[in-house]
Symmetry: C2
Subunit: 363 residues, 2 copies
């Protein structure tokens, strides 16, 4: 029985005791080392290779789990011991085993955050196993094999979310104007590129000038701006002279209200999340002006996004995303960080907006 | 050429000059008396019989029209002179001629607020023409001929709105829980009754105890409460123990946020309007806490309602509404007020929540 490491929510985590606004800190986490349990009939022992870092985890820390519980999250892992014929030793799997280096799981029984059991990944080349040869901030090269970590990103929930939000919910039409918040983020940078593929006029905003340059110059957005330094209202007047038809928002807050003021009649807003409130999910950080009047007057539709309501579209969507990646139309940006120990810091910095694209931890 | 009266937006209307929060007052209106213009080829002269008073008019006063312009609104009128074969003298029509006693209009050209031309009403009994025999606060009796003013209410936009909001947008399913704001209002009192016909658990709130009793005892809502005297959050916990699936809201504001907190996963919110902001449409009256987090977490859908996006359903919906009214399943409550001169006062009092059901002015 090998030793393994896991990150748990600390017993005296400030996020649990703080009443007001509270930024996540490393004090909220505790690293434990334990022996794995016995592998019983039907179970497997797997070793984490790639772990996903996601802003939504911030919410689970306040809403989803209690002190001492393993931080939830998705990972790509290799089966190292098996008492389940469907998941033999050596196979790669994808599932929500949480923030731990080894896991003993029953593949059919283990439900991840989204209620899906563990899945097999059949085609990861052996030589990538546990590799440290990834480049920092590597952009997936054109016309090459995608890394298997892609199933945590562009060929996983972030890619599916970006594609389905635009095509199945917003029903984007060529020539329409799209605005994206957190536009250099793991989902935003894909939404904008897919928007361009679909023939939209794409405007992205971020809280960082360098990221704004990146999405404009490297990813081909039509407009990009730093909402902290440029007046958002004035900028949108110039960037979206015909108004905004689709708004894909992961952030909420005051900027959300500003964009609503620019929406066209029958505009669609896809609310993927609400990053601006994640550090204070139990209490509302500050009152923000309500633009509800816009919703009724302009007959807007606002859809809170839940990917698993659209599972019938997953297969065809993954086919298209994969094709776009391989042909170079879509650049899935992956920021790789080495070391399981880095996970809390990576999440904290992701919430602070320090990274571009998808954050992957290599265990 | 007869003399006619019209209500216009006053040249020095406080609603136009006030910067902050501003309640509509009679000073915002001016009553003018003029001669009607000549009836040219294709035109008709018509006399108003029933005029509709609608909260949305408050918005048009700030957004839609300028000083000296006639207040917009719908009416049922009789053709008294005609140079249009399709609209002969004596016929009854429905259209947006505005707040005036006589109008010269080209039936095909005149576009009302919703972009519809004037329509014929073929079957109004002659003896109802200009009648003053309506009862104050009459509830349409069961199994009888509906008054022709009904095309301004239950067989017009308010009935269509109530029915389509529940059936076509919310796609209400039996057993679901429905919450309605302004539940004794012209749309709300219909939404609740249609909810009961569809097998929903119906909860309505108003700002008045008497109205709450009325919708509970007379109209058959399952729950009704006065949000000014009962704690809304606690009340909803008891009234909606399984959570809220559908919220039909005409009011917005803080109560809107409170109800969002009780919504179930995949809940639907139909935003018909935003009464709480109508007296201050240009400036936001006060910051209200945002529950946007609920939207993403619960995968809510919020739809700003615009009736004319659903015109393909009008005919079948009117058939069903008419049948429900005649069979007594649906009580369309009409509050009739005599005298064209009463219109501004009626609108002001409607916005203050003084009335139940549909307000009709008998000119």
């Amino acid at each position: 029985m090998p030793m393994f490491k896991k990150w748990v929510l600390s017993n005296d985590a400030p996020v649990l005791t703080s009443k007001g606004h509270h930024d996540l800190s490393e004090k909220d986490f505790e690293l434990l080392e334990e022996h794995t349990s016995d592998v019983c009939k039907g179970e497997i022992l797997c070793r984490a290779l790639f772990l996903s870092v996601d802003p939504i985890t911030r919410l689970y820390l306040s809403y989803g789990i209690g002190p001492g519980e393993t931080v939830p999250g998705r990972q790509v892992a290799r089966v190292v011991e098996s008492r389940n014929k469907k998941f033999p030793k050596g196979k790669l799997i994808y599932g929500s085993m949480g923030w731990q280096t080894y896991s003993v799981v029953h593949p059919d029984a283990v439900q991840d955050i989204c209620g899906k059991p563990v899945q097999l990944i059949e085609d990861l080349p052996k030589q990538l196993d546990g590799t440290t040869q990834y480049h920092q901030a590597s952009t997936v090269p054109n016309a090459v094999q995608l890394p298997k970590s892609a199933c945590l990103g562009v060929l996983g929930t972030t890619g599916l979310t970006a594609h389905i939000a635009l095509t199945k919910i917003a029903k984007a039409q060529p020539g329409e104007t799209l605005v994206i918040s957190s536009a250099a983020g793991q989902i935003g940078h894909l939404v904008g590129q897919i928007g361009k593929i679909l023939g939209l006029h794409v405007i992205g905003y971020t809280g960082d000038g360098e990221k704004a340059s990146w999405i404009k110059l490297e990813l081909g957005f039509d407009w990009a701006f730093n909402y902290k330094t440029q007046d958002p209202d004035q900028t949108l007047k110039i960037a979206a002279p015909k108004g905004v038809d689709i708004f894909v928002d992961s952030v909420g807050g005051k900027m959300h209200q500003t964009v609503l003021g620019h929406m066209n009649f029958c505009g669609r807003v896809i609310q993927l999340g609400n990053l601006s409130m994640y550090n204070n999910p139990k209490q509302i950080p500050e009152s923000i002006p309500s633009n509800d009047l816009e919703i009724a007057l302009k007959a807007l539709t606002i859809v809170g996004f839940n990917l698993y309501r659209y599972s019938e579209h997953f297969e065809s969507t993954l086919d298209e995303l994969s094709e776009w990646c391989r042909s170079g139309k879509l650049q899935a940006h992956e920021h790789d960080i080495e070391g399981f120990e880095s996970m809390p810091k990576a999440l904290i910095e992701q919430l602070q907006g320090k990274y571009q694209g998808k954050i992957i931890i290599q265990a």
